[in-house]
């Protein structure tokens, strides 16, 4: 595995470079767009929803930003990753290279964007009067977990996309619904206990909640909460890897 990584590291670097160049070609502010878009979303949400949901909530801006930060990374990473395999079909049908590299290359991009937005997030935290504690280090856990979760979903989606192009429309509907189900701008406290438990089935909500617990409440989620997140990651990564392995030499029939 390590030998393989070493062997393909040059190719991986070149792929990342290519994807960067293609994405920001002919755009005036380049990477700025990637930060601007979640910020604009945040602005609109802040203006609209404060009236309805934020009146009795402390640090509502930070509350919103936690949700937005996690969700926009998830939707960007999976949305961009979906076409990564198909978009490189002219390469993988001609040269024998590991196909997941295309997805990873796209993921590097969204990870960097996420990192930039994360910096803005911390600046907003300061402005919102959040006290920084040592517990902030624990944010590495949801970040790594989300990265792996996105890779898993990306593997599944990019494989499915080769078989059925409709998946892109289905996915955009699904992510939109998921956004409303992820308690980004509202609090789940007003639901009864059973309903609140149902939210735990949503992996994105778990990640958002982890952020909020650390940043706003200053508490560390329980061990069970950690395990639940690992389980979600393991499931999607498992399915994704299995699909890539199973169809490795069969994808080319479909393009």
């Amino acid at each position: 595995m390590i030998k393989k990584l070493e062997k393909y590291s040059f190719l991986f670097q070149e792929l990342v470079k290519r994807d960067f160049k293609k994405k920001y070609k002919r755009t005036v502010i380049g990477m700025g767009w990637s930060i601007l878009s979640p910020l604009l979303q945040l602005l609109v949400m802040r203006l609209i929803f404060t009236q309805f949901f934020g009146r009795n909530m402390e640090h509502y801006t930070t509350y919103l930003f936690c949700g937005n930060l996690v969700f926009s990374y998830f939707s960007e990473s999976t949305g961009q990753g979906m076409s990564s395999l198909m978009g490189n079909s002219s390469i993988f049908t001609k040269v024998n290279i590991p196909k997941y590299l295309f997805l990873f290359s796209k993921n590097v991009q969204s990870l960097i964007n996420f990192g930039l937005v994360l910096i803005v997030f911390f600046i907003f935290c300061i402005l919102d009067g959040i006290t920084f504690t040592w517990k902030f280090i624990l944010l590495i856990y949801p970040i790594v977990s989300l990265l792996l979760f996105n890779i898993g979903v990306g593997l599944i989606l990019s494989a499915l996309f080769v078989f059925f192009r409709d998946i892109q429309y289905l996915w955009s509907i699904f992510t939109q619904l998921l956004m409303y189900l992820s308690a980004i701008f509202y609090s789940i406290d007003s639901y009864n206990e059973r309903m609140q438990e149902l939210f735990l089935l949503n992996p994105i909500y778990l990640h958002i909640r982890y952020f909020r617990k650390i940043v706003i409440d200053g508490t560390i989620p329980s061990v069970w909460f950690h395990l639940l997140m690992i389980a979600d990651v393991a499931i999607v990564l498992g399915i994704g890897c299995w699909m890539y392995k199973k169809y490795n030499t069969k994808f080319l029939y479909y393009v």
Binding site: K7, F10, L11, Q13, E14, L15, K17, R18, K21, K22, K25, S90, I91, F92, T93, K94, V95, N96, I97, F163, F164, R165, D166, T249, L252, Y253, Y254, V255
Partner: protein
């Protein structure tokens, strides 16, 4: 020890309605029984082995299974039946000019292609000058790739591929592109590589070229192996005869 060995390799290829149809179409066709998938043997019982320094020419009409066979040899596909043994590194160039990216510059494309063929960055840094000079594209180095003519594109592709020192080099319709001068240069390069011990597999529709260069011939027809051997002129003559007969009966 043979460097490449194929034993009764058969490949079943599937094609049909599953391509480029949406979910709706898929269900409608399934329900109305209008969903067709065709399976056929793209290659059937192909057996041959190559030694170090061999230059194998594969001949056969369109649809004979040449490209599929190359895909199996390079590891992009797996044989449905039979087995294949490779004792060395492989660099495959199938349909050369695809896989380049029009938006990138010539230099960036060269690096990307080099990376795909398994070179290191150090190797590319060292040999890039040589590559670009061999391809005669010095003044195009920083131009977007899409501005190149198709001849230039394949010149670049060949230059990159031929500078590797793989144990097995696969070239699919590579030499039939480029102008006369470049063709001569590339043929020379191939001879040089063969002398250096590289085993090469060449697919070309130019029978003359194959007859001149190759040391072994594999003749495929509709997936079946008609002949394999080092009697280059004999096989080519019989192949030509076969083609003539086919034309007459038409």
């Amino acid at each position: 020890m043979s460097i490449l060995e194929l034993h009764n390799v058969s490949i079943r290829y599937i094609t049909g309605d599953f391509k480029e149809i949406g979910l709706k179409e898929y269900f409608i066709r399934k329900m109305t029984g209008n969903y067709h998938v065709t399976e056929f043997w793209a290659d059937k019982d192909v057996t041959f082995s190559l030694e170090k320094g061999d230059l194998l020419g594969i001949i056969g009409a369109n649809g004979a299974g040449k490209s599929t066979l190359l895909k199996v040899i390079s590891g992009i596909m797996e044989p449905t039946k039979g087995w294949i043994k490779r004792n060395g590194s492989i660099a495959a160039l199938l349909e050369l000019s695809s896989g380049f990216d029009g938006e990138l510059t010539v230099k960036e494309n060269a690096y990307l292609r080099g990376a795909m063929l398994g070179y290191t960055r150090k190797f590319m840094d060292e040999t890039f000058k040589e590559i670009i000079e061999f391809a005669d594209l010095k003044e195009f180095e920083d131009r977007p790739f899409k501005q190149l003519s198709s001849g230039m594109k394949s010149r670049l592709a060949f230059s990159i591929a031929s500078l590797v020192k793989p144990d097995i080099l696969i070239l699919d319709e590579v030499l039939s592109v480029g102008d006369g001068a470049f063709r001569k240069k590339s043929e020379q390069k191939m001879q040089e590589m063969m002398g250096g011990g590289t085993t090469t597999i060449l697919v070309s529709h130019s029978l003359n070229q194959i007859e001149d260069m190759c040391s072994k011939i594999l003749w495929l027809d509709k997936g079946k192996q008609i002949e394999f051997g080092d009697d280059v002129h004999g096989i080519c003559a019989r192949y030509e005869e076969f083609l003539e007969k086919k034309n007459k009966s038409r």
